[in-house]
Symmetry: C2
Subunit: 186 residues, 2 copies
């Protein structure tokens, strides 16, 4: 039996999807925390009246890193943590769910520093993805040299957007992935 | 002094933004966890090769509830946890950062069950927001009666999208906010 173990493990690892593990991972949360909280009793309106925008990056545990507990803050996440990709969510956050503050957070070592729009589109097309679909999409790469600038641009974008409340409190930040620390830019 | 305390506290509460508290909340994370992890050494490619899509809802602590640690999974969050609002992020997740699995999670008691597109647009216009901007935006409300259906629709949307990898493992789930538990739909 013991001689078969490495193969069994290896086969199991390569065929298993994360989805197959999700229910058991979730059970720990439900037992330890979720069932006690009765999340519906907290309600859908964020108690701190804030919406956080940050990158989808796998290294960012938004609740822990930025100090939120269940019920306190909307969390909008997309590639780069971009404002222009968050407007639909923000309007509902503000108009239906009562938030009046926006925190936007970009970060160091971002995957969106690793490509340019033109070259990325070319690569997709040469890999067989249809040109019209590729050209319709703006992938929104950023420059590692201008991280403060991209934060400022996104704050300005929100301040000037026709569908964002004029009296919103808006701040812009950089999250340093060396140690997870944050620095306010604007 | 003690008689002044309630006013001082009350004034401080009403004027304080969440942004003012963020640095000190974050210090705890940096000291206890971030600085030890050296997040940049983990790298931007999710180690579990998965991208999770879920709602911005404030009650969802995605890392804890779904069992992820720093570095393991992209986390894309928007109003409702909608696939069509995640494509830009997903394409970069797959093409630049090596993911091949997508987990999409809708949830009970969602804020996106609370309005209809037409009435919401009318309300925005009557509150002074410019009609052309309002009409350009699809706010994507959902029906509480059809939560399994909306999950299935979003999975199908991803399976048929021209820019999503054809061999992606895609599963659809409902997160029950009574206790935080998850149920796989497809």
């Amino acid at each position: 039996m013991s001689s078969m173990l490495p193969n069994v493990l290896s086969s199991s690892t390569s065929n298993t999807s994360v989805a197959d593990e999700l229910s058991s991972s979730n059970e720990t949360y439900v037992t330890k925390r979720g069932a006690k909280l009765n999340l519906e009793s907290i309600g859908p309106k964020p108690t701190k009246k804030v919406a956080l925008i940050c990158c989808m990056d796998a290294r960012i545990d938004a609740f822990s890193a930025f100090g939120f507990k269940e019920g306190e803050s909307h969390v909008i996440r997309n590639g780069g943590g971009r404002a222009s990709d968050s407007i639909r969510s923000l309007v509902i956050s503000q108009q239906q769910l009562g938030t009046d503050e926006i925190i936007i957070m970009h970060h160091t070592d971002c995957g969106f520093f690793t490509f340019t729009e033109d070259k990325f589109r070319q690569t997709l097309k040469s890999n067989g993805y249809p040109g019209p679909d590729v050209d319709l999409m703006s992938f929104m790469p950023m420059s590692a040299d201008d991280i403060d600038e991209s934060v400022k641009e996104d704050v300005e974008y929100l301040k000037n957007h026709a569908l964002i409340k004029k009296d919103s409190k808006i701040s812009g930040w950089v999250n340093d992935l060396k140690d997870g620390s944050v620095r306010r830019v604007v």
